[in-house]
């Protein structure tokens, strides 16, 4: 793969909306990505293998739970910093961002938000450093967009809970040390449980044959009469709002991340259009190439503004689920469009691993579906407008 000379576009001088600290965060993560990730990512994606050796580096740079409090070994940063970290990671690869999103927003966040003080102290510092890795079990084979219908359940056996069921499409599952699992109790109420690798009856078979997120490990979680200690129940939430609160946080990170993938495709296409000579001039000198680049930059600039504003709202704790949905949906959609246009500008080279375009494009096919599908996010906006749910 070529040397990574990525520079983000900033057509509207939006860097001026960021603090010096935000820019330092971006600079730090970008430097780390260029040094540790860019040189290896294509190879791992081609081989459909997760580069497990980077977990320690992700932990030490502070990519796991950066906005949770310092007292639990986390970064104590604001939401824009969190977004920027996700953007810089996904600029390289959605699969690596997924690993960080899951760890930070779907494992550490619920333990922090819904867990007991003992659970926080036991798990968060090790999750922040990458010593422990986690995954999040919500989706089931028959319950994706409709998680409330889940069948995974647990029974109170007096001194422990007995967990049965299965979860599917779980990022990090094959190597995770712990899983935050959402399951129904005997009364049909959803609760979160921390399940640890090694508990008898708990297995995590890997999902093979993916054409997307190939550098990320995906698997199932299977619970066959797993005895879960009672202290592993997250005590401070019940009902669907538990997992949905986590998803708001993760989707917010995805909105930033997908924009990163879009900017990487644009940056590569822009550079290629200047280097590639046809009919004795750079292809960037032809109108149809300029149309593609101009439209890409327009969409990126709009998405940058949308995302930054969402970050400000999130910092003020005012970002609604519907606002997050709109940003996630918009940014993934424009990233997919930009990846396809960038692929065309790269011509035949665009389908090779020499350039990141095809990998981004395939990754984004997962991102457009997971964490609320493209259509469901549209209906969330529709429900926000009308007050009427079109999916229930």
């Amino acid at each position: 793969m070529r040397t990574d000379n990525y520079q983000h576009p900033d057509h509207y001088l939006l860097d001026e909306l960021l603090t010096e600290e935000h820019k330092l965060v971006r600079d730090a993560v970008r430097s780390w990505v260029k040094k540790e990730l860019s040189p290896i990512i294509e190879d791992y994606a081609q081989r459909a293998e997760f580069p497990k050796h980077i977990l320690k580096g992700l932990g030490s740079i502070g990519a796991f739970g950066p906005s949770l409090p310092v007292e639990y070994g986390c970064g104590g940063m604001d939401q824009i910093s969190y977004g920027i970290i996700m953007q810089e990671l996904e600029r390289c690869d959605s699969g690596i961002r997924s690993t960080a999103s899951v760890q930070g927003s779907l494992v550490m966040y619920p333990i922090y938000k819904y867990g007991s003080e003992e659970q926080r102290r036991k798990y968060l510092p090790k999750l922040a450093s990458g010593e422990l890795m986690g995954c999040f079990g919500l989706t089931e084979p028959d319950f994706g967009s409709n998680p409330g219908g889940m069948v995974t359940n647990f029974k109170d056996m007096g001194d422990h809970y007995l967990l049965n069921g299965a979860k599917m499409w779980i990022s990090n599952a094959p190597f995770a040390d712990i899983a935050v699992v959402w399951a129904k109790n005997e009364a049909g109420k959803i609760h979160g449980l921390i399940v640890e690798r090694g508990m008898p009856g708990f297995s995590t078979p890997e999902t093979h044959g993916k054409w997307s997120l190939r550098a990320s490990a995906t698997g199932e979680l299977v619970f066959d009469n797993v005895k879960v200690p009672k202290e592993n129940l997250l005590p401070n939430v019940s009902g669907l709002k538990g997992p949905m609160g986590c998803l708001d946080s993760a989707r917010y990170g995805i909105a930033w991340g997908a924009l990163g993938a879009a900017m990487d495709c644009y940056d590569s296409a822009k550079n290629y259009s200047i280097e590639r000579i046809q009919f004795d001039k750079p292809i960037g000198g032809f109108q149809l190439t300029q149309k593609k680049l101009a439209e890409m930059l327009t969409e990126i600039t709009k998405a940058q503004l949308l995302t930054w504003r969402l970050g400000v709202l999130k910092n003020e704790d005012r970002a609604s689920t519907a606002q997050i949905s709109m940003a996630k949906r918009n940014n993934v959609e424009i990233a997919l469009q930009i990846a396809r246009e960038a692929r065309q500008i790269h011509g035949g080279m665009g389908i090779t691993g020499e350039y990141p375009i095809m990998r981004h494009m395939m990754n984004l096919e997962s991102v457009v579906t997971y964490e609320g599908t493209h259509d469901i996010h549209l209906l969330i906006t529709g429900m926000d407008i009308t007050g009427i749910s079109a999916f229930r």
Partner: protein, 246 residues
């Protein structure tokens, strides 16, 4: 060890260098400034020395205007304990060395680090001048350094080999590429940098002794021509007639 690391602000290595219309000044518009990469190595090595010794302090110092503070904040995020900015334009090496020496002279630093040169003007003079002004020994362009109490063992490249130098603190050294790997700040470091002291002090009286009268951009390089391996004759002709090198 009490260590002082001199930090210089330089244009990012990807910057397209242009000058003002009268060619008398570097055009800073839109240029991103970074910590001079050799100074980053010096900072990292200073931190490593103190970590290995289990204690000490690292102060970073910079001569420059307020718009350079982001890079001092970065040095703090990387791990420096405190930062000093001497509020003056760094006009030439003599001026900068005088400012740093004036600050350092009564502070009792064991080691003063600089980079071997800044990657913009490539003067490589400040370290030597600081040593002279403070009457300290200096070892220039070092590859490695280790400490045993106050005694340092330093390795540096010389023509066709390597030199091992012993020197006792206090001394001045300049860092080069092999010394270490630059450290990337992590999120916790960035957070902690918020509350670390960054002191701004007025410049001491010092003169500048040189003046840049004009800049000239290098001539743009001619494009490469690729000649097929089967056409060696064409290559020889071009080398004869066009490049005129044989």
């Amino acid at each position: 060890m009490k260590i002082l690391v001199c930090i210089s602000n330089v244009p990012d290595t990807t910057t397209k260098i242009t000058f003002t219309p009268d060619n008398k000044a570097f055009n800073k518009a839109g240029v991103q400034f970074i910590i001079n990469p050799y100074d980053e190595l010096a900072l990292t090595k200073a931190l490593e020395l103190n970590e290995a010794a289990g204690g000490g302090t690292v102060t970073v110092i910079h001569v420059g205007a307020a718009d350079t503070e982001a890079n001092l904040r970065k040095a703090l995020a990387v791990g420096a304990d405190d930062a000093v900015r001497i509020d003056a334009e760094p006009t030439d090496a003599f001026f900068v060395a005088n400012e740093i020496a004036a600050y350092a002279k009564d502070k009792g630093f064991d080691i003063i680090f600089t980079g071997r040169e800044s990657i913009d003007y490539n003067g490589g003079q400040v370290g030597g001048m600081i040593a002279e002004l403070l009457d300290l020994p200096m070892v220039n362009v070092i590859n490695s350094i280790s400490l045993q109490g106050n005694a340092a063992t330093i390795e540096r490249d010389i023509d066709g080999g390597r030199e091992v130098v012993s020197v006792d603190t206090p001394f001045v050294v300049s860092a080069q590429k092999e010394l270490t790997e630059p450290r990337i700040p992590n999120m916790r470091g960035i957070m902690m940098a918020r509350s670390k002291p960054l002191q701004v002090i007025a410049p001491a009286a010092a003169e500048k002794r040189t003046e840049i009268s004009q800049y000239q951009a290098p001539q743009s390089k001619a494009g490469c021509k690729f000649i097929d391996a089967a056409e060696a004759e064409t290559l020889i002709q071009l080398l004869h007639n066009e490049a005129k090198v044989i």
